[in-house]
């Protein structure tokens, strides 16, 4: 008995349900928690595809670092259900309708695509392992890797400059 399809469907339903709850929940803190749940489901998909490095990085960077940052900002601003801004009902309906149309068009365009008979390799293959990816990252992709460190430095400086309080000049 092959359990892979069951795991796939379970993870897919989990990811879609969590994403829907993230979009629809009123309280921003619940939204963050549902998004973390979505990220765990996507990490499960990565493990199913044997992309172990990306699964671990996804949990550490997204669920660990980025979402904690979001949570900090939300709690710093003291946002909750009462202060949550609301759009009017028609705008929400039109937004959902537009998204549904986008999904319909994309699915209709891609359902007869040429790659329909292709399979994704599941549970095998060594390209997702840290050894292979690390070797590739530090040989062929070493220049983009170094440039990304510069990007991080500029993002850090930018966040500090934007986030700091403006000093008021009283005697100028």
């Amino acid at each position: 008995m092959n359990v892979t399809p069951y795991i796939f469907w379970f993870l897919s339903v989990w990811a879609l349900f969590s994403a829907l709850m993230m979009v629809t929940s009123r309280n921003p803190v619940y939204s963050v928690l549902w998004l973390i749940s979505t990220f765990f489901a996507i990490s499960g998909h990565y493990i199913l595809l044997n992309a172990q490095f990306l699964a671990v990085v996804n949990i550490i960077v997204y669920a660990g670092a980025i979402m904690v940052l979001f949570l900090f900002v939300i709690m710093l601003m003291n946002l909750n259900k009462e202060t949550e801004p609301q759009k009017n009902r028609w705008l929400k309906l039109v937004g959902a309708l537009a998204g549904g149309c986008l999904l319909l068009v994309l699915v209709a365009a891609l359902k007869d695509a040429e790659l329909k008979s292709q399979q994704a390799m599941v549970g095998a293959g060594s390209i997702g392992l840290i050894k292979v990816l690390g070797k590739e990252l530090f040989t062929r992709y070493v220049v983009p890797f170094e440039i990304s460190s510069l990007l991080f430095l500029s993002a850090m400086v930018g966040a500090a400059v934007i986030g700091k309080k403006e000093i008021t000049h009283q005697n100028s």
Partner: protein, 109 residues
């Protein structure tokens, strides 16, 4: 698994993120929906890399690592983007005491 399933799952996740951007007014939630869209793309990139690997396995044993490294770089860029974006949102909250994007439709006060 057939690649179609991954394609449609990613499309559904992307569309949910898009609907979130269109229907919510809280700037932080809109930002989170953008993260969800990035993740949908990441999932599809990994699935395609595994598809490519299976197809060209005989030619080269390490074919398909490029796609997974792209996902890695997308995560790097997303982390940098989040730090700057949240700083901008904090600054906006400090100035107008709200994260409602409706107050930003005019750029001057």
């Amino acid at each position: 698994m057939p690649i179609n399933y991954y394609l449609f799952l990613s499309l559904a996740l992307f569309t949910i993120g898009m609907v979130g951007v269109l229907t919510r007014r809280n700037a932080i939630i809109i930002f989170m929906c953008i993260e969800l869209m990035l993740n949908a793309v990441n999932l599809l990139l990994v699935a395609f890399s595994k598809m490519h690997h299976l197809k060209n396995l005989a030619l080269n044993a390490s074919v398909g690592t490029d796609g997974q490294l792209f996902v890695f770089f997308i995560m790097v860029v997303a982390a940098a983007e989040v730090s700057v974006g949240l700083a901008i949102i904090v600054m906006m909250y400090r100035n107008i005491h709200s994260v409602d994007i409706q107050f930003l439709n005019r750029l001057k006060h």
